[in-house]
């Protein structure tokens, strides 16, 4: 969460010289990433005025002619707001001043001169909506500029507070840390009323849970027809807090200023005393009008009848502050952060209070805050306090061993012991000889390493010198990165590598089916892509589609990554390498401009597989519904399915709106990497080449025959290459192979070759 506060407010507690940018830098350097942001610009010419007289406009019933004293002079202002007759102190934008959207000029309204404007808060930009001019109820100095009156800064600090620093979620908290890091004086907490004189009652509440660390309650009677002062309203606005009930506004203001969340109950709706306990069978309605069924670990503030608040998180609707409330019971409490966090994870309700409670509110703060809010309520709501009750669970402050050598060793620094002690003292630690006592607000400090960070932070991270690392030399084994070579091979073949999201749609899952059950996300980023891909084609073809839609009509893409599925409840992550070739294989002068075909994909796959040392694969008919049934094949290595190649089925192409496209996928995990054999010496004797042709039925697979030849143990056969497939008629094809024979020991005689050829013929004629 980012805290948005004005520098002036911060400086009320820690007087630090410097520009707002310098303040931001100080804060950033001590661990609070801070940006300077523009807030409302209020023209200094806008001033507080006193309405001296109001008269009717002779020409217009709805207009009034007012004389307004703005200190230096008295202006005549024509005002259309009917409440101006009761107005005393108002905001005046004289001629020449600027308000959002306009510069004021002298005008005549129905013949009467008007030298400015009496403003509503909306016209100044302080609220979103307002009805009529603003009546200032506070004490004012006539002629004072509004900027001064509000103590307004047009640039404010946006401070990012990390989750460990719950103690800094307030102006005071930030000031406290800043005073420590900059060695400046910190002002004390704002003063409060003397609560002790009101203490004595036990009628307000009763604590029945160990997770309540402190609980103070104060009853009051208030004048409900009041409003928060304008500076308070402005600071709440800057912090991004809405304005609602005057009591709620004051409590929010105190939370923002010193960090203590508080709650106000309409006391007349309560059946006292309240009981603080864990869990309840009774459901109740929260302030956001949602029905809440408490879990057994939830901390609840109940009255004698029903739960009235989910402690530290949100109050109940029934006992909330209302316009008619005139008796209230204030709550200022400290709850166990872990317990609040547990409830929050389960109920998913977020509030400014719960945000602070789960990060830890200092156990010594609640009474101070209550007394301070009483001062404000007294001042701005004319509050009268009737009774006060306080509960505190005794808690030991934690102690941590302190050793300056440990800290220096950890940091690689040489900070003096005395300097470290001073830093920790400034941060509120009670530094003893060999230990420190942690102040109550530092929930995040519990171990020696936490002290290391505090010292490093205050010393300045940038004041710790760089220290080169050293180490023994460890020779790295030479390892062939087959995947790297394979990718380079695809690149040489014209393929561009794509990196796609792993998220896919239901349609894509159905289009490219894969083994195992798909894995769905409970919170997908886009509703139409709720699944993890089960096959790389699902994401790669999306990239193909993306490019084709952008008038790129021929291209080659590949992707390497994981596919995900569940098999028998077990999650499987499989590494795949996939490729797609869309449209023509090559274009341009001297290319034949033909579309990609099955053999392009097959040769790509075989070439890529050789990167893993695989020289031979068995190709089998494949029945993948996404592929052309007669132009697709499964690739087997030692009876293991290592990949699939083929042309996409016309209906797949139609579904994706793509032209002719061939695809390949290799299952990397299934590939057995071949280690390189010892090198063989080339033969010194001549080789002999012979062609062999066989006529077969057209459904006989050439690959099967070639495999048979390879396995037939034909003597001196060195290589086999398919040369030609000639379709003689509808049912018959001639297949021609070129065979090469060679011996490593002698020149082969015709007789030996004839014998070998006879064996080859016999093998093919089966």
């Amino acid at each position: 969460m980012a805290l948005r506060i004005s520098p002036r407010w911060l400086q009320e507690y820690c007087q630090i010289e410097g520009s707002i940018e310098q303040l931001a830098d100080y804060l950033s350097a001590s661990g609070f990433e801070t940006e300077v942001v523009e807030d409302l610009a209020i023209d200094p010419k806008i001033v507080i005025g006193e309405v001296i007289s109001v008269g009717k406009h002779p020409e217009a019933d709805k207009l009034n002619i007012c004389k307004v004293n703005i200190g230096t002079e008295t202006l005549q202002i024509v005002c259309g707001c009917k409440t101006v007759v009761n107005a005393k102190y108002v905001i005046v934008a004289p001629v020449g001043s600027v308000i959002p959207g306009m510069t004021l000029k002298p005008v005549k309204l129905r013949g009467v001169d008007s030298q400015g404007m009496i403003c509503s808060l909306k016209e100044i930009g302080l609220v979103e909506a307002s009805d009529g001019i603003y009546h200032i109820a506070e004490q004012v100095t006539v002629g004072m500029s509004l900027v001064e009156f509000l103590k307004h800064d047009s640039q404010i600090l946006e401070i990012d507070i990390t989750p460990n620093r719950g103690d800094c979620l307030s102006v005071y908290g930030i000031a406290r840390d800043l005073s420590a890091s900059q060695s400046e004086k910190l002002q004390p907490y704002p003063e409060g009323i003397d609560l002790a004189v009101l203490a004595g009652t036990k009628d307000l509440f009763e604590v029945k849970s160990d997770h309540v660390i402190g609980y103070d309650a104060l009853s009051a009677e208030i004048d409900i027809n009041r409003q928060v002062p304008l500076y308070m309203l402005n600071r709440l606005r800057q912090a991004g807090m809405g304005v609602n009930h005057v009591v709620v506004d004051i409590l929010n203001y105190v939370m923002l200023e010193i960090g203590q969340p508080m709650h106000g109950f309409d006391q007349e709706r309560l059946n006292l005393p309240l009981i603080l306990k864990e869990g309840s069978n009774q459901s109740f309605t929260l302030l956001d009008e949602s029905e809440y069924k408490p879990a057994k670990w939830d901390l609840l503030v109940c009255d004698q009848n029903a739960p009235q608040a989910l402690a530290g998180i949100m109050g109940g609707l029934d006992s909330r502050m209302q316009e008619s409330t005139h008796k209230l019971q204030l709550e200022s409490a400290v709850f166990s952060p872990k317990r609040i966090a547990k409830s929050l994870r389960n109920c998913s309700i977020n509030s400014d209070a719960s945000y602070r409670y789960e990060r830890g509110v200092s156990s010594d703060l609640n009474t101070v805050a209550l007394a301070y809010s009483a001062v404000l309520l007294e001042k701005f709501c004319n509050a009268k306090f009737t009774s006060y009750q306080s509960y505190t669970k005794t808690q030991e402050l934690s102690r941590i061993p302190y050793r300056s050598e440990f800290i220096n060793k950890y940091l690689g620094s040489s900070i003096l012991d005395a300097d470290m002690r001073s830093m920790l003292q400034r941060l509120g630690f009670d530094v003893k000889d060999a230990e420190v006592i942690v102040p109550a607000h530092r929930y995040d400090v519990s171990q020696q390493v936490d002290l290391v960070e505090e010292v490093a932070r205050l010393h300045g991270y940038n004041n710790i010198a760089l220290e080169p690392m050293q180490g023994a030399l460890v020779p790295r084994l030479v390892a062939n990165d087959s995947m790297y070579v394979a990718k380079q091979r695809l690149v040489s073949a014209g393929y561009h590598e794509a990196v796609q999201f792993s998220f896919v749609s239901d349609d894509l899952l159905k289009l490219f089916e894969a083994e195992g059950e798909p894995i769905a996300l409970s919170n997908p980023i886009h509703a139409e892509f709720p699944y993890m891909r089960t096959h790389l084609w699902q994401s790669l073809l999306l990239a193909a589609q993306y490019n084709y839609k952008r008038q790129i009509t021929r291209f080659k893409l590949f992707e390497q990554g994981d596919s995900f599925s569940r098999n028998d409840g077990k999650v499987l992550e499989r590494s795949q390498l996939a490729a797609v070739c869309v449209g023509q294989v090559n274009t341009g002068y001297l290319h034949d401009d033909r579309d990609v075909d099955f053999y392009d994909m097959q040769s790509t796959a075989l070439s890529v597989l050789s990167c893993w040392g695989i020289k031979q694969v068995v190709l089998k008919q494949c029945n993948n519904a996404a592929l052309h049934p007669k132009q697709s094949a499964e690739l087997y290595d030692n009876d293991k399915l290592i990949g699939v190649v083929g042309m996409l089925h016309p209906s797949t192409l139609a579904a994706l709106d793509l032209p002719t496209a061939g695809v390949m996928v290799l299952n990397i995990d299934a590939i057995d990497v071949r280690s390189m054999n010892d090198a063989t010496m080339p033969s010194r004797y001549p080789s002999v080449a012979r062609d062999i042709t066989v006529e077969v039925r057209s459904d006989v697979l050439a690959g099967n025959l070639q495999n048979a030849l390879e396995r037939a143990d034909i003597p001196y056969l060195k290589s086999i290459q398919l040369k030609d497939v000639y379709r003689r008629s509808e049912g018959a094809v001639s297949l021609t192979w070129s065979l090469v024979f060679q011996s490593t020991e002698k020149t082969l005689s015709d007789k030996k070759i004839e014998h070998a050829m006879a064996l080859a013929n016999a093998c093919l004629s089966v």
Binding site: A29, G31, E33, P163, K338, L344, Y410, L411, G412, S413, Q447, V449, V452, E453, A456, Y461, I464, A465, L466, E467, P468, M469, G471, V474, R476, Y484, K487, L490, S492, A493, G494, Y495, H496, E497, A498, V499, Q500, F501, S502, F503, I519, A520, L521, S522, N523, I525, M532, A543, Y546, N547, I552, K556, L557, D562, V571, E573, N586, G588, Y589, H591
Partner: protein, 327 residues
């Protein structure tokens, strides 16, 4: 006799003028003038009938003719060979026309960045470790000192699997947990890989790539961590950097820091780092008296974007061919 010499020469010249002079035609001529049935050979046959005197004179004259014919024919062959070469040389190409172009593909910029970063770290003696993308809560959070229910967990916008306690890892620190639990220190490892966060805008991608480095060894310290992270970034970006380290917060490190560098005209956040929290080491049964650890993490995507001057993260995952072919 001069007549046959002349005729032979003429025959060769005729062939050339008709554009038919080649080795085969010269063979024919050779056979006509010097073959078994040629006049010359017939003439040799008649030598036997002559007197020794006449034989000597006639024989010498025949020999001379044979030599002359041979020379003519040899020249014919050479001429024929020359014509072949000349014919070949006459065939020219427009060497400026681009023909039969081989289109070369490209590695994805993220792969290029990944390879470069890995090679920097391998050169410094770091082992590369990898782990699963789908993880349990323990490896992603608990073992990294994110207590259950702790608000620090909300720092990560985590993708959860439907009907399961599993999640998509939000950082590659999960791999560190696997390594810490399976290997004995001292350790110097790097864990590059994909991570997932439930966030999508010009600066956030729901999937991106991280590289983390972990060192666990006796006496390693924060000053060395600063050095390592800075030197790594300088090596990758290829120049000395103006830098600053800022305190930050990560549950698994204490102290924690963030590195900013000057890039263009402003400070840019480059990576997080810190001394490994003793709680993390203890959970992996590592003696924290003997061993300290530090770790840093950088975004591969972010560094690559800086290097290539890319300002919208989304282009990396659109895979537009015209973007890809630049790399």
């Amino acid at each position: 006799m001069d007549a046959s010499l002349k005729a032979c020469q003429l025959a060769i010249e005729d062939l050339e003028s008709q554009g038919k002079l080649n080795r085969h035609e010269v063979d024919q001529i050779k056979s006509f003038y010097l073959g078994k049935k040629s006049d010359l050979m017939q003439a040799y046959q008649t030598l036997g009938k002559l007197s020794p005197e006449e034989k000597k004179v006639k024989g010498a004259s025949l020999n001379q003719l044979r030599q002359s014919l041979n020379a003519l024919i040899q020249a014919g062959y050479e001429r024929a060979d020359l014509l072949v070469v000349e014919e070949q040389l006459a065939k020219g190409e427009d060497i400026s026309a681009i023909g039969r172009q081989q289109s070369i593909g490209s590695l994805h910029p993220l792969t290029v960045a990944y390879n470069e970063m890995v090679s920097i770290l391998q050169g410094m003696g770091f082992e590369i470790a990898k782990g699963p993308h789908i993880e349990d809560d323990y490896h992603n959070f608990t073992a990294l000192n994110f207590p259950e229910d702790h608000p620090a967990r909300t720092m990560h916008d985590t993708f959860y699997l439907k009907d399961s306690d599993l999640l998509l890892r939000t950082h590659t620190s999960t791999v560190q947990v696997h390594v810490l639990n399976s290997q004995k220190p001292p350790l110097r490892i790097a864990t590059p890989g994909r991570v997932y966060r439930c966030d999508h805008d010009p600066t956030h991608s729901p999937m991106f790539n991280q590289l983390e480095c972990l060192v666990v060894e006796p006496g390693c310290n924060f000053a060395q961590l600063k050095w390592l992270l800075l030197k790594f970034c300088e090596a990758y970006l290829g120049k000395p950097l103006d830098f600053r380290f800022r305190p930050s917060f990560f549950p698994f490190t204490e102290p924690s820091a963030e590195l900013d560098i000057v890039w263009g005209d402003r400070w840019l956040e480059l990576g997080g780092c810190g001394m490994v929290h003793p709680n993390v080491l203890k959970m992996a049964s590592i003696d924290t008296e003997e061993f300290q650890g530090f770790a840093f993490g950088v975004g591969i995507d972010r560094l690559a974007m800086m290097k290539y001057g890319i300002n919208d993260l989304r282009v990396l995952y659109e895979n537009h061919v015209e973007f890809l072919e630049q790399f």
